[in-house]
Amino acid sequence: MPWDRNRMAARAAQELQDGWYVNLGIGIPTLISNHIPAGIAVTLQSENGMLGMGPFPIVGEEDPDLINAGKQTITEQPQTAYFDSATSFAMIRGGKIDMAILGAMEVSEEGDLANWMVPGKLVKGMGGAMDLVAGVKRVVVVMDHTDKAGRSKVLRSCTLPLTGKAVVDRIITDLGVLDVVAGGLQVVELADGISFNQLRAATMARLLI
């Protein structure tokens, strides 16, 4: 059975290492903070100007001056630090963030990522995604392997406008875990009950075993 959103988030949480500074994108990546393994302490960066992002506030304690990059009300932690947007992206661009875990619309076997724009549809903007994939040390994407019509979103090359070229290190989907390596995508892991043939049938990229 393919992994659901929470299983994907739990699997992505296994990527975290103790002491890391991590930026989590909007969507499934947001759920990862619910699955951080015991004994692993990570500091979450929010690119609007915060390190040490805490959970949602309890009712009545929301603060309009304290939001995350998804504009949701959040809380601070004992180690929290605030800074301006230029400083925030200086630490991103400067390679100080250990990992970014982002959503994706398409990903290619060369590690190209498309997650910000569908031509002809509503265009909202790239926000900080292009900066994150260009600057963060390790980029992991978490996504459904296929779209609602069953078409693969893991491709030889992306069809949508790119967020970054050759930027993705690891892909976690509902069907398994793939690494971007020379010559294609290395199969690292299959989701529970998913066979290699099922994975291959759902993938347009070259797979290496």
């Binding site: 001056d65 949701q72 230029a86 926000g127």
Partner: protein, 234 residues
């Protein structure tokens, strides 16, 4: 010279003209200069180019200047929360330049720091890089981005002293610092103007040299997405 002004209209008086470029602080609706935006609306200044990470929502923040058709061009990283923005953009009434968020912040910071342009790897291989100079540093391709110097900066801080020293609160600092520095003139609105000497000089977030005019007032501080958790899990 006195930097404090009695209200937002007085604080922008004499600074506005049609076709000007304005850098605005804020992220979403957090830390936006809502009083100065209203003063801009009342002034009727038009054909504005506005550099701001977002463009408010329908009827609040920079969204009010869309309703009055005062903005002709936006430089932003994300404009997803505004139906009127989309309508004007798709109708060809509004020009839009998308910048990656960090590139926009750095264009403002650089503009305020006397740096006319900089190279960044952000956006290489994407539509953002089209038409821009490419140059390799240490084996990696970068693109040249020009800095932004605005005719006017409008920002929002938590507290100011009469000399213009500013202190921000939590994530409401965001774009307010780089936006403030990149303006030829900067007007700051605050929740409170405190007496000279009452801010710790070690804890000033933006020195008063960057701030020409200050106004205080009551802020609505609207929340864009209220997210909470139940009390029993606290």
């Amino acid at each position: 010279m006195k930097k404090t002004y009695p209200d937002a209209d007085a604080a922008v008086d004499g600074l506005l003209f049609d076709g000007m470029t304005i850098a605005a602080g804020g992220f979403g609706l957090c830390g936006i200069p809502e009083l100065l935006i209203e003063a801009l609306r009342r002034s009727g200044a038009k054909s504005l180019t506005v550099a701001s990470n977002n463009c408010g929502v329908d009827g609040f923040g920079l969204g009010v200047l869309l309703n009055t058709r005062q903005i002709s061009r936006m430089i932003s990283s994300y404009v997803g929360e505004n139906a009127e923005f989309m309508r004007q953009y798709l109708a060809g009434e509004l020009e839009l330049e998308f910048n990656p968020q960090g590139t926009l912040a750095e264009r403002m910071r650089a503009g305020g720091a006397g740096i006319p342009g900089f190279y960044t790897a952000t956006g290489v291989g994407t539509v953002v890089a089209e038409g821009k100079e490419h140059k390799e540093f240490n084996g990696r391709v970068h693109i040249l981005e020009n800095s932004i110097v605005a005719d006017l900066s409008i920002v929002k801080a938590w507290k100011a002293d009469p000399s213009g020293n500013l202190v921000f609160r939590k994530t409401a600092r965001n774009f307010n610092v780089p936006a403030a520095t990149c303006g030829k003139v900067c007007v700051a609105e605050v929740e409170e103007i405190v007496p000279l000497g009452s801010l710790d000089p070690d804890h000033i977030h933006l020195p008063g040299i960057y701030v020409n005019r200050i106004v205080s007032g009551v802020h609505e501080k609207r929340i864009e997405q209220l997210t909470v958790r139940p009390k029993e899990l606290a």
